[in-house]
Amino acid sequence: MNLSLPRAGRASDRPASPFPPLGMRRPMWLALIALVAAAFVASLALGAVRIPLDEVLRALAGGQASKDTWQTIVLTFRLPKAITALLAGAALGVAGLQMQTLFRNPLADPFVLGISSGASLGVALMVLGGAAVSASVFGRTALLGEFGLVTAAALGAAAIFVVVLTIARRVQSVVTLLVLGLMIGYLTGAVVSLLIYFSIPEQVAAYINWTFGSFGGVTWQQMRVFAPALLIGLAAALAGVKPLNALLLGENYARSMGVNVRAARWWVTASASLLAGAVTAFCGPIAFLGVAVPHLCRALFATNDHRVLMPAVILLGGALALVFDLIAQMPGARFTLPINVVTAALGAPIVLWVILRRQSFARV
């Protein structure tokens, strides 16, 4: 495939250790960590309601802000949202990186396996598919509510997840997986269109609203599921860094290094699907971060080594999600934008710039 990632080329004459030892990129790491911290604090301090920073800090420290609503806003609106954005951004970046390496395709994103389509289908069935089905499954109260949406998206994502994993264990070629994801996307797209066609505007609006994506819907109660799911997924991804590096150099090479390719592929698929599925279930289909962040990190650190890229993607993904969400809020403005508008509008130029710049470097 022409679009395959640049291999760690120069390393090929030293097959024993294709990647140079981890360099000292301390300033870069410090800058990234500072960016994450700054974005996190900013997302707690800034919002539609103007709250002085010292009041924000007092509320966070367990004290009492001078207005009750401020206390509530900081602790139950902004804090869970900031944590959600941080985790979701990290998860999407990691899943994107895994998929790009697995499929040796720089256009791959966390949703290439059809996980997000599965979640969309779950939500569409729930929201659009008539009260009868949903009511019998979820009880009378959860029809269109936030909790119902999360449940439906999670079930949809999980169903596709199981299908993908089952097939991933059997197939020889990653291309089959890619085609599978694509076909799942078409199938669910057809069903969703059909449901929209037979639905009334309120239902369609609720579904469209979900597709816009948001970090702000995760309440503390939901966080008890969301955070552990993502932390497990991230840990699994970090544990799979070495086989990922081996896969980068081709499956034959990986085999020669003693990597069980099929097991590695399954491990990567499982963790990426968990990450993408959980984020989609709770935040909706968040576009672009998954494609963009790995490219940005490769450019920033000038490497394909997953031992570097994985933590870098976690930090930069979290930071960018926080920043994009802040921009979507447009502190001080009356209106808010859907997060997906911002991620795509700002993400696309950034990635273009990075790729073009890398191209010109490559020529030199």
């Binding site: 919002g47 309601v49 009750d68 959860a142 936030e146 702000g216 009356r334």
Partner: protein, 440 residues
């Protein structure tokens, strides 16, 4: 609804020039000769065009007695250009979206704001059946009145048809699913109506087969969603009803007069609207000087966004007229505003009444809080003053608030007044709104 008549009517429309020539042979009302530049008819509605002093030709004109009422059925048999065929006229008080000009044997109605940000207007020349159509009116669709049947593409048109005693002329609907009107439901069950589909998915073949005299639809300005471009292309007489663009409850319901124009039912429309308006104003008057005006928040959050009606919107106007203090009353926007949940939370924390306007039918406040625990801090939640407009929703989710309610804003107002000032509205029973109980 004989097919022969319908076809001859369409033939009339199509053979426009022939009729035009005939019309121009007559001296009085016809604006201009077909060869000259088109002339806008500008005469004031009541000022009748110049009286013809003599019979147009040598043929002895039959003695025509000027009608005292509009012809709501059938056609004129002995046309006389001097006769005002529309002695009953509409006068518009509250609606801003359409204007009508009357001429002796036709009326010109212009839909000014067919949709948000529209660049075009729609002009309809409604010609008394049996009389010649005028010439020279540009970009206008010529339609004969009274229409013998109609396909309604929105349930909001049904209450108007019912009030005008026109449900027997209902030929079809866009969809059967969302109808609440009991008479229309009976018609559906009896198999008396056709279902032609809505928006761009409208079934043209079915519509052509039904041969409607009139299709009344609405537009959003996007060919991807609108039915009228396809219907007009198929030469089906289709008119845009843009009631939803009106910013006031009275204005929106005054479109009953727009519907009436196509059936020559002006008299009935004037009567119905005046009575309804009187009831509306009576409720408004009752609560106007209430000592306490409860503060009101409306809408629901979706994740971290909360869409609230703008201060200049339909919903805000109803709250104001019902003696409520809407929290965003100073705002002037006519649509709705997408705000951050935290902003609404901060402002609405002490609001007395919460009007949900939720599609979902919550059985209790407990269920609402299970969905979104952050509502718990709102004063209205603590006091149980939480309401939704889902008292009358049919089995498919069609809400009668948007059907009967929009056509009867006096009931909408009385409902809200009852919620805000129960002591002043003791004899009113809530029709559309329902208080959400604390527990299921």
């Amino acid at each position: 609804m004989s097919k022969v008549i319908a076809i001859s009517r369409r033939t009339l429309v199509l053979s426009f020039t022939v009729i035009a020539l005939a019309a121009c042979a007559l001296p009085a009302a016809a604006p201009a000769a077909p060869t000259t530049a088109p002339v806008e008819p500008t005469a004031a509605p009541t000022a009748a065009p110049t009286e013809p002093t003599a019979a147009p030709t040598a043929t002895p004109a039959p003695v025509v007695v000027a009608p005292t009422a509009n012809l709501t059925d059938g056609c004129v048999e002995n046309y006389d250009a001097a006769v005002d065929y529309f002695p009953e006229k509409v006068s518009i008080e509250d609606a801003t979206g359409f204007v009508v000009e009357y001429f002796n044997n036709y009326k010109v109605v212009t839909v000014l704001n067919p949709w948000r940000g529209a660049q075009e207007q729609f002009k309809y020349v409604i010609v008394q059946c049996g009389t010649p159509a005028p010439t020279g009116i540009e970009n206008a669709l010529v339609i004969e009145a009274p229409a013998k049947d109609v396909i309604a593409m929105s349930t909001t048109q049904l209450p108007h048809l019912e009030k005008l005693d026109l449900l027997d002329r209902l030929l079809g609907l866009d969809s059967f699913l969302y109808v609440n009107n009991s008479k229309v439901r009976t018609l559906i069950q009896a198999g008396a109506l056709v279902e032609i589909g809505g928006g761009a998915e409208v079934n043209i073949e079915k519509t052509i087969e039904a041969q409607p005299d009139l299709v009344m639809t609405y537009g959003v300005g996007d060919p991807q969603y609108d039915a009228h471009p396809k219907l007009l292309e198929a030469k089906i007489p289709t008119v845009i009803n843009a009631e939803y663009m009106e910013g006031t409850p009275l204005g929106r319901s005054e479109w009953i007069k727009f519907t009436a124009l196509f059936f020559n039912k002006e008299g009935k429309a004037q009567e119905e609207y005046a009575a309804m308006k009187q009831r509306y104003l009576a409720v408004a008057e009752k609560v106007k000087n209430a000592s306490n005006k409860p503060t009101v928040v409306s809408g629901m959050a979706s994740k971290d966004k909360w869409r609230v009606p703008g201060g200049g919107s339909y919903a805000a106007r109803l709250i104001l007229d019902a003696g409520g203090a809407y929290l965003w009353a100073e705002d002037t926007s006519a649509g709705s505003m997408q705000l951050a949940f935290e902003e609404v939370y901060d402002k609405a924390i002490n609001a007395d009444v919460w009007l949900l306007t939720a599609f979902q039918r919550y059985d209790s406040i407990k269920a609402i809080l299970e969905d979104e625990p952050r509502y718990a801090g709102l004063a209205a939640v603590k006091s149980g003053n939480v309401w939704n407009y889902d008292k009358r929703v049919n089995e498919n989710g069609g809400n009668d608030y948007w059907e009967t309610g929009v056509g009867n804003p006096d009931i909408l107002l009385a409902d809200l007044a009852k919620i805000f000032h129960p002591e002043l509205m003791a004899d009113h029973e809530l029709v559309f709104w329902r208080q959400i109980p604390a527990q299921p």
